[in-house]
């Protein structure tokens, strides 16, 4: 499962990871490095203290895995998102980021799908008491993609995939033994079906990035209003 966890190492905001690059990574240690002092030495090595943690996808420990590279441009984008998240005052973004991190760390795809959809719902369907959640989620995410283009996805494809994603989540949540039939989906520019969990991770990552940089749309009414407006090229901005 793709994940990227580049986060503030010293505070709870490590949970608010800026999932930007989509690389498979994580961390297993937090190191404290004394500057110019220490209480115990081995040879001339620094007197570091290590706190063990387990915050990486299980797949990293299962056999060969290639080391991925991150470019300077990607790191600049991480910084941009980080800044936006630090300035963020909306709890929904924090919840969505926590769910994205959890989804990346789960060993079971069925657990991950629940986290992913909760994350998307938190961001896009705050008014969940009224109307069909699946329809609202799909419509709003498709509208967001119309406003802020996302990779090769067209709004119509996002709408359709999002419905399937929610349907899969419902079958998993209700213990349907045929849930696995929805675990793959056809997406634009791929010739064969790919795991829907990967598409869901991309969608949630995209939604977090876009809404962190454009917090106005954290209000669902703004997205609904945008839906009622004719499409304008000049209104399009960088999103995911």
């Amino acid at each position: 499962m793709p994940s990227s966890t580049l986060s503030h190492p010293s505070t709870d905001s490590s949970r608010r990871s800026a999932q930007v690059t989509g690389k498979v990574t994580g961390y297993c240690e937090i190191i404290s490095l004394p500057y110019g002092w220490g209480s115990n030495w081995t040879a001339d090595l620094p007197d570091i203290s290590i706190i063990k943690v387990r915050s990486y996808p299980e797949t990293l420990e299962q056999g060969p895995h290639s080391v991925e590279s991150v470019t300077e441009d990607e790191l600049k984008e991480v910084g941009q998102i980080w800044q936006a998240l630090e300035n963020n005052t909306h709890n929904s973004l924090n919840v969505a980021i926590r769910r994205l991190n959890l989804a990346c760390l789960r060993s079971s795809e069925e657990d991950s799908i629940l986290d992913l959809v909760i994350g998307l719902e938190t961001l896009m369907v705050k008014d969940s008491g009224q109307g069909e959640i699946s329809h609202k989620l799909s419509t709003r995410l498709a509208t967001l993609v119309r406003l802020f283009p996302f990779e090769q996805y067209k709004p119509r494809a996002v709408f359709k995939i999002c419905k399937t994603l929610y349907n899969y989540r419902s079958k998993v949540a209700h213990g349907d033994s045929k849930a696995h039939k929805l675990s793959k989906v056809l997406v634009p520019s791929y010739n064969k079906p790919i795991p829907i969990i990967n598409v869901g991770l991309s969608f949630l990552r995209y939604a977090i990035r876009t809404l962190a940089l454009n917090p106005k749309y954290l209000d669902p009414d703004e997205i609904d209003f945008a839906l009622s407006q004719p499409e304008k090229d000049e209104g399009r901005q960088k999103g995911g």
């Binding site: 297993c28 190191i31 895995h65 300077e72």
Partner: protein, 86 residues
Amino acid sequence: MVEFDEPVFVRVYQQWEQAALGQNLHFGVLVPLLMLRVQPTSFEHERFGVVAMSEKICLARNLNVSSESWSFNSLKNAASHALRAS
């Protein structure tokens, strides 16, 4: 006569040291990034940095490895860069 016991002394001394010199004992926090290489050897941002870990830090990380599994150690050692809090 009591024999000098370094571990016991260090435990007591460190408490005193922290209380008396805490504000002068600066340290950094590093988070090694697993299976990730950073194309520029270092990167600085207002809120964080990504740095290549020195050979000494890599060696110091491996002073106590006996209780950990082979797969965990392989993964742990596949970290060349670390995130640093600014």
